[in-house]
Amino acid sequence: MKSLFLFLFKFRAFISLILLQSLCAFLIIQNSLYHRALFFNSSNTAIGFISSISANITNYFKLIEINESLAIDNARLKNSLNNFVNTPDSLKYDSARRFYYVKATIVNNSVDFRNNLITIDVGSENGVRKDMGVLGGGGILGKTRYVGKHYTIVTSILHTESMVPAQIKGKVNICTVQWNGTNPFEVDLLYVPRHYKLEIGDSILTSGYSGIFPENLPIGTISSIELANDAPFYSIKVKLVNDLYKIAFIEVAKNIELPEIDTLINQIQ
């Protein structure tokens, strides 16, 4: 017994290193596997508050870019409103009506890591729930992940785990957008079978199949197409319409039918 204690005492530094590292590993794995976070993140009110002060200051220096992106967004909305007013089609089921939007501001944003998260200043008090779509800068931004009372953490589209169901306008109805972790202006378009004829510049829109994002929102345009001889699918790069470095004001899309869809899916399972 004495020699055991002597052994433990001799290697106390190494043993406590192992213990502390296991604690850290537990925190990291808890977050990445179960999408559950403990106390240490910015949906915490105090930390969110400090970050929002900093965001207020930095947003002041980005005002020109913010105004510009809002103007672009406005123009796009006016154009689509025009289509809507001129050709009212009561037979067409318009998925956009299922969504309500909550306005929010980005408090903390990273784009340079492989798995980027965004903190925004709305939370459960504003009606935000887990797995809601987040839009900004005329494109899509991500999906809510941890919802705090006043702040929410969003899985950015620049996160290797985030997958968005998409379509190529007028050509392919089912494909998926995913980031490969290198260039923050480009995402990959997956699962486009080789028999389609594609061109550089084709626009990529949301398909609305997940029920998270409204249908027909712009994601980006095709910037490069490659087709290996024996590959079943194209490898396509898509340039994002929005620049994630510059976005400050965003919307959270709230699907009012999602609870019903979820109950249906749960009944099947």
């Binding site: 406590s16 604690l23 850290c24 990291i28 240490f40 910015s42």
Partner: protein
């Protein structure tokens, strides 16, 4: 609680806020990241024992993690850094040793000494940060480039901060 301890506690919070609100956003060419909070860990007194050192590293790391939403990543890297630190100090300390309470700061202990001391520690810290964050060894080249670029960038900033902001009269 002497003056030095109070000074260190205040600078702890300043380091966390500066890292979270300013230096997390200062990334050069999407490759070089600045982790200046390592400077706090490096300049703790030389005779600090390994276990209290690792606990300080854990707390500081969790503070940084809270702001950057990395959940234990910085804590893990800082604990490892604080484990290696006394080992490196024992290699670098000359026969006679240093007077009690000496901080390894470039202006105090020599720039060459500080470089040999800081570069391997910062490098080990960045290795953990980037390879754990990537979760795999694919894109090994890009990740290693980020590690090396960030090591140099962080080191330069840490040295500059030591010379500019922390007065020479302190130990």
């Amino acid at each position: 609680m002497n003056r030095y301890t109070i000074f260190k506690i205040i600078s702890f919070f300043i380091y966390v806020l500066a890292q979270a609100l300013i230096f997390n956003k200062v990334v050069l060419f999407g490759t070089a990241y600045s982790f200046i909070y390592i400077g706090f860990l490096l300049t703790l007194p030389l005779e600090l024992a390994v276990i209290p050192g690792m606990l300080i590293g854990l707390i500081l790391g969790l503070g940084i993690d809270s702001f950057s939403n990395t959940f234990g990543l910085h804590a893990s890297a800082s604990v490892l850094l604080m484990y290696f630190r006394p080992i490196l100090i024992s290699w670098l300390t000359p026969q006679g040793g240093y007077p009690a309470g000496t901080s390894p700061r470039p202006s105090k202990i020599g720039f060459g000494w500080f470089t040999t001391f800081a570069i391997p520690l910062i490098f080990s810290h960045q290795m953990v940060i980037f390879f754990v964050e990537y979760g795999s060894f694919d894109l090994f080249g890009i990740t290693l480039l980020k590690v090396i670029a960030s090591t140099i960038y962080s080191f330069v900033l840490i040295v500059v901060i030591q010379y500019i902001f922390i007065s020479r009269t302190r130990r």
